[in-house]
């Protein structure tokens, strides 16, 4: 039987690597699974990285991602290779299968699948990919030395990559859907771009078609105000219109929104217990290295709590080899009356000389278990027999000595 990890992270982008750092530092057995040999995800494909706090002197995407990976390794994170094609999250131990034929098992899975470039979905785009249509300036800029290219999009990535392309191409024409002068990118980049003499602009326009015989020869532009179509000769089309989540393999396994993004709460929990989602593939406001890293830290920390709850519950309450009944008591240090109430229960249990066991849970720390057993009042005590909850008493008023004695008498001393 293969090893069961505490924490298996799918995707070695900044979110996954940060989860790896936090997980392995918390002594969880942690592995990061990625399809690529080099970690870093999308952040590795951008040369310019000017907004990760603390790194501003010529830090590159691949550079900072290597630091993340080395950091995770230093705490003992394992790195695994494989492209995930199938997951099974139904049981307490999650299974992850890869195209390469490996199956990995883990108590917790952190999904960090990232996103891939969004396509414009026009005629010619798919056919001419790698033949003039590109989504990666650092990969393909060299091909366009002394040639003409267009850039589609006007967000941060589009404008920054367009400026990078001016170092290679003869002309770089940016196709912008907005009115003249309006760009979605940050102001600093916009000002820099407007002053760049090698950049040309086409406003109020979208690309309707990409055409060429074997290699890109032209784009057909549409003016969105007039509907007028015009041809623009070009050798290359660089598309930077955002990303789409890489979540096809997760359809039907965890909750996705209608655009395919993973839905997670502020603890990065998905709708499946023990499965977390971080990074660009998650529904969120800002998709950056710094927010992905934050997601990863939160997920690993939430996962650690989940695992320790799971362990307590499994070993101390649900383990059926333990024939003794168990009282699971939900209290909270913040709820003063619950302290006395549970102390009283403790006393009664002690008097039974080991015939009954008591497990105390801080309700706010063990939210998962509290939710699982529908605990709505603090304190609440639940009696377990043979791993099943058979009776409960809720609220300080009802947890009286006689009520507890009754509970034990009815359910235990048969």
């Amino acid at each position: 039987m293969s090893k069961i990890y505490d924490l298996l992270i799918i995707g070695a982008g900044p979110g996954g690597l940060a989860a790896g750092i936090y997980g392995s530092r918390a002594k969880l057995s942690t592995a990061v699974l990625d399809k690529n040999a080099e970690p870093g995800g999308q952040a590795s494909t951008t040369d310019e990285m000017e907004n990760y706090p603390g790194f501003y002197n010529g830090t590159t995407g691949p550079g900072i991602m290597k630091e993340f990976a080395d950091h995770a390794k230093s705490f003992g994170t394992e790195f695994l290779r494989g492209t995930v094609d199938e997951v099974d999250f139904t049981g307490p131990v999650k299974k992850v299968h890869t195209q390469q034929g490996d199956t990995y098992e883990s108590k917790v899975v952190v999904l960090s699948p990232g996103a891939t470039p969004r396509k414009i979905n026009v005629k010619g785009e798919a056919e001419l990919r790698g033949k003039g249509v590109s989504y990666c300036a650092t990969c393909d800029a060299d091909f366009f030395v002394d040639l003409d290219v267009v850039v589609v999009g006007n967000g941060d990535a589009a404008i920054e990559e367009a400026m990078y392309l001016t170092k290679f191409a003869e002309t770089v024409t940016i196709i912008v859907i907005h009115e003249e002068g309006n760009l979605d990118c940050n102001k600093a980049s916009a000002e820099k771009a407007m002053k760049n003499p090698k950049l040309k602009w086409v406003w109020n326009s979208t690309v309707e078609e990409i055409a060429g015989d074997e290699l890109v020869e032209k784009v057909v532009l549409k003016n969105i105000n007039t509907g007028e179509l015009t041809d623009l000769e070009t050798n290359g089309v660089f598309v930077f219109i955002g990303t789409e989540p890489h979540t096809d393999f997760l359809k039907g396994k965890v909750e996705l929104d209608d655009r395919g993004y993973l839905v997670a709460n502020d603890m990065m929990e998905t709708n499946v217990p023990g499965v977390y989602a971080v990074g660009d593939a998650r529904v969120k406001y800002l998709r950056q290295v710094v927010t992905a890293a934050a997601d990863g830290a939160i997920a690993a920390s939430a996962a650690e709590k989940y695992l320790s709850e799971l362990e307590t519950l499994q070993n101390d309450v649900l383990d059926v080899s333990n024939k003794k009944p168990v009282i699971l008591a939900f209290w909270a240090p913040q709820v003063e009356e619950s302290i006395d109430s549970i102390a009283a229960v403790d006393k009664i249990v002690e008097e039974k000389n080991g015939a009954v066991e008591l497990v105390k849970l801080d309700t706010y720390r063990a939210k998962k278990t509290a939710t699982q057993y529908k605990v709505t009042q603090i304190p609440t005590i639940i009696l377990f027999k043979d791993g099943k909850d058979v009776a409960r008493i809720e609220g300080v008023k009802n947890i009286t000595s006689s009520a507890v004695e009754n509970l034990l008498k009815e359910s235990v001393e048969v």
Partner: protein, 110 residues
Amino acid sequence: MMEHLTKENFEDTISNSKGLVMVDFFSPKCVPCMALMPDVEKLSDDKSDVATFYAFDTTGNMRMAMKQKVMGIPAYLFYKDGEKVATLGKEILEDKGMAAVTAKLDELTV
């Protein structure tokens, strides 16, 4: 270990080749190319009986790449007895990874 072709010997090597040949068009600056390179190396070992494998660094060799109608990398080109029979590019980028390359090799082998 795959042999690296240069712009000087590319055309001669390919046109004189017999059987199935695969060329990995890459550049050290292309992160996805470099990420896939270990897989291609492994593939070239595993499938050395069915095809000959070469790598071609496009840096400074753009003209030769464009002559092969390659204008984006990573790209994997397949030749049979010196004739180009297939190009894989977008399939790789669309995340089908090495599975797409292996499938194409198998398809061309039969």
